[in-house]
C-alpha cells in the first residue's frame, strides 16, 4: 500500500513543476517594462477608492460552517459505505440513523433561516 502513496507523493512533487515551467518561460522571453500605471489595481478603468478590505457578510461564514459539519459527517460515512457487504441490516440502519440526525440539523438551519442569502 505504501507504493500507492509513493506514486501520489511523486505526483505531488512533480505536478506543480509543469505549471511552474509554464510560468518561468514568460519570465525569460516576455518583455518587462514596469510602469506605475500598469500595476494599478483594476477597478473598471477608474481609480480605486478606499481600502482593499470589504466588510463581507457573515453569510459566507455560515455556509462554510454548515459545510464543515456535513463534511465531517460524510468522512465518517465513507468507511461505513466501503465495508457495506460485511454489514448486517441493522448496521445499515445505524448508518441511516446517523444520516437522519444530521438531516434534522439541516432542517433546523433551514427553518432558522440560516441558509438564506439575503
Amino acid at each position: 500500500m505504501l507504493n500507492d502513496w509513493l506514486f501520489i507523493g511523486i505526483f505531488l512533487v512533480l505536478a506543480p513543476l509543469f505549471p511552474a515551467l509554464a510560468l518561468i518561460v514568460p519570465r525569460i522571453i516576455a518583455p518587462r517594462k514596469p510602469n506605475p500605471l500598469k500595476s494599478e489595481t483594476y477597478e473598471c478603468g477608474i481609480e480605486t477608492v478606499g481600502n482593499t478590505w470589504v466588510q463581507f457578510r457573515v453569510q459566507f461564514y455560515i455556509y462554510a460552517l454548515v459545510f464543515l459539519i456535513f463534511d465531517v459527517e460524510l468522512v465518517f460515512l465513507f468507511p461505513w459505505a466501503a465495508a457495506f457487504d460485511q454489514l448486517p441490516l441493522f448496521a445499515v440502519v445505524e448508518g441511516v440513523l446517523f444520516l437522519l440526525i444530521l438531516l434534522a440539523g439541516l432542517v433546523y438551519a433551514w427553518r432558522k433561516g440560516a441558509l438564506e442569502w439575503a
Binding site: 461564514y61 460552517l65 464543515l68 459539519i69 460485511q86 444530521l102 433546523y108 433561516g113
Partner: protein, 171 residues
C-alpha cells in the same frame, strides 16, 4: 537510514518549521497558509504510518473545511492583515524556562520507555484497515455508540454555531 526514515525526517522538519512560521509571521493570512502546510505535513506522517484513510480525512476536513473557515473568520474580523503589536511578550523568559523544563521532563520520561526499541507488530497485507474501520464504526461491541453520539455532537455544534454567528435581525 531507510528511505522511510529519510522521508519521515524531511516531513517532520517541514511540519515543525511550518508550525513555527505560523506563530512568527506578521501577516495573519500568511499564518493561515503556513498552518495549511503544517496540517498537510501531518497528513503525510499519517501516510507513513499506513493510515491512508486518516491522511485523506485530514486533508478533506482540516485543509478543505477548517482552514477555509479560519481564513473566512480572519477576513471577517480583521480590518488589517498586519499585526501591529510587538512580536514578543515581556514574560518570554519565564515562558522559555517553563517550556524547557517541560521538554526536558518529557524527554527524560520517554527515554525510559521501551516502546522505541520494540519492533512494531506486522500488519498482515491481507487486512484491509478501511473495511475493519467501517465495521468497527457500526458494530455493537465496538464503536457504534461513539459513532451515533458523534452525529449528535455535530448537530449540537451546528446549532450552537448558528445561534452565535447568525442574527436573524441583522441577517
Amino acid at each position: 537510514m531507510t528511505a522511510l526514515q529519510v522521508i519521515f525526517l524531511i516531513t517532520a522538519v517541514g511540519t515543525l518549521g511550518s508550525a513555527l512560521m505560523v506563530v512568527i509571521t506578521r501577516n495573519l493570512v500568511h499564518a493561515a497558509l503556513w498552518l495549511v502546510a503544517a496540517l498537510f505535513g501531518v497528513a503525510v506522517i499519517f501516510v507513513q504510518l499506513n493510515a491512508g484513510f486518516l491522511a485523506i480525512a485530514q486533508v478533506v476536513i482540516y485543509i478543505g473545511a477548517i482552514a477555509i473557515l479560519m481564513i473566512f473568520a480572519i477576513m471577517l474580523t480583521r480590518r488589517v492583515a498586519q499585526d501591529a503589536g510587538p512580536q514578543t511578550n515581556p514574560n518570554w523568559a519565564w515562558a522559555f524556562l517553563v517550556a524547557a523544563v517541560l521538554f526536558g521532563g518529557l524527554t527524560w520520561l520517554l527515554s525510559a520507555w521501551s516502546g522505541f526499541s520494540t519492533p512494531m507488530p506486522e500488519i498482515s497485507s491481507r487486512a484491509d484497515p478501511l473495511r475493519q474501520l467501517g465495521q468497527a464504526l457500526v458494530s455493537p461491541n465496538a464503536y457504534v455508540l461513539p459513532f451515533e453520539v458523534a452525529s449528535v455532537l455535530l448537530v449540537t455544534a451546528l446549532i450552537g454555531a448558528i445561534m452565535i454567528a447568525w442574527d436573524r435581525k441583522s441577517g
